[in-house]
Amino acid sequence: MSISYAPAGRTGKWDGAMDWVQMLSGAGLILFMWCHMILVSSVVISPAVMDAIAEFFEATGMAQVGGPLVFLLFLTHFVLAARKIPFGFDGQKTIWQHARMLRHGDTWLWVVQAVSAMIILIMGSIHMWVVLTDLPITAIKSAERIQSGFWAVFYLILLPLVEVHVGIGLYRIAVKWGFIKDKERARFKRGENILTLVFIGIGLITLIRFLFLSVN
């Protein structure tokens, strides 16, 4: 083992800033996903409610401007978080063997976080492209897409992956930055797991609602 410090001339000046942006972009995306869930799940109450919320975003320009900005945040978060993910086969093998050896919950959660990130990067980009190139968002358009069959399967995969990634991300930010102390960790984690399940449940109910929404 040898510890080699930042080579001369590189003191890690930006490493702290990048860590901040990684955390803040993640926190921003978590907040966005919660708001997103409020928007789409409002269809369960009534398609008119969802349309009204979507129209508000449309009329205020938030969908047209905010959408691409969220995509930018999404990419920023990926680029910064990816600095920690091993893209080489050797690194992947090491962390896989390490997780299998250790049988440690939080280490496995990191593996889940990293793998889900890769899938979300692709599927999330496709989802954003499809939605943002076909504005405005309406309940009928969403229902039509999901009733085509392919998109129902697509969202059945993307929904749990996003919710799990968001759940682990929130937990990780809290423990990494010390917002949650050791004594509160287990309770916070349990609460976070419940929240994740609740969000997956709301998402599934929303998908079912879209599936049976009359589009005629």
Binding site: M1, T11, M18, D19, K84, A99, M101, L102, T107, V175
Partner: protein, 245 residues
């Protein structure tokens, strides 16, 4: 009739060109209050005198007998066989240089880490051997003592996913060590000085928060809290350094 314990032990002697890494099985009858330390000594005495492993104090103080016990880094002397299943797999601690079988060289790692983190009190005050020791607030003293309890066993480093992925990562033991000086009022280093040491991806910003260090530490050091404290402290310092000019 007590249990017959089956041990699968990693064997390899890097000094011997004929040796190749393999697992070897040993069977031993369990005795009352048996620890892995006792079991390993019995195997060495009764079955194979060439078995290499480290120990010194047998009381969880010296930190020599760290090894991977059924997948988890821990101290052999702290681990009772009655808490383990009948089949026990023992591996040397990863990350550190292998000496042979279960013995690894944690000493060189820690010595180098101490040098790199400049693990001593930095002060320009002249030391007066005849003067009374400066008084310290009890709460601060207890806080320092809490972090000083590290026995340098290396379990936190071996359990760390980041340390496994990148050789230059300092790890919890080193960061805990820095935190110890950071709270010591006798050390005159500024937050900016500490940033030079740990304010990078090899230091606190490299930590991915997997917290295996916290979960395996045989001394139950508050590593999670220290890592969070350092990340916030160095995070704020990084912003100050950027906007200072």
């Amino acid at each position: 009739m007590s249990r017959l314990l089956k041990f699968n032990i990693f064997r390899y002697n890097p000094e011997d060109t004929l040796s190749s890494p393999h697992m070897e099985e040993f069977v031993l009858e369990e005795t009352d209050a048996m620890t892995l330390f006792i079991a390993l000594n019995r195997i060495r005495e009764e079955q194979d005198p060439s078995l290499q492993f480290d120990f010194c104090c047998r009381a969880g103080i010296c930190g020599s007998c760290g090894m991977v016990i059924n997948g988890r880094p821990g101290l052999a002397c702290h681990t009772k066989t009655k808490d383990l299943p009948g089949e026990i797999t023992l591996l040397p601690l990863p990350v550190f240089k292998l000496v042979g079988d279960l013995s690894v060289d944690t000493g060189s790692w820690f010595r180098e880490m101490y040098t790199k983190t400049e693990s001593w009190i930095h002060t320009d005050k002249e030391f007066d051997a005849d003067a009374l020791e400066e008084r310290m607030d009890n709460k601060v003293a207890v806080g320092i003592y809490e972090l000083e309890r590290c026995v340098e066993c290396g379990c936190c480093i071996s359990a760390c996913g980041t340390a496994r992925l990148r050789e230059d990562f300092l790890g919890a033991a080193a960061l805990n060590r820095v935190a110890r000086f950071l709270i010591d009022p006798r050390d005159q280093r500024t937050d900016s000085d500490y940033y030079e040491i740990i304010g990078n991806d090899m230091g606190i910003f490299g930590c991915m928060g997997l917290l295996a260090c916290e979960d395996v530490c045989p001394k139950h050091l508050p590593l999670q809290n220290q890592l969070g404290f350092l990340r916030r402290k160095m995070g704020i310092t990084s912003l100050k350094r950027i906007f200072r000019k």
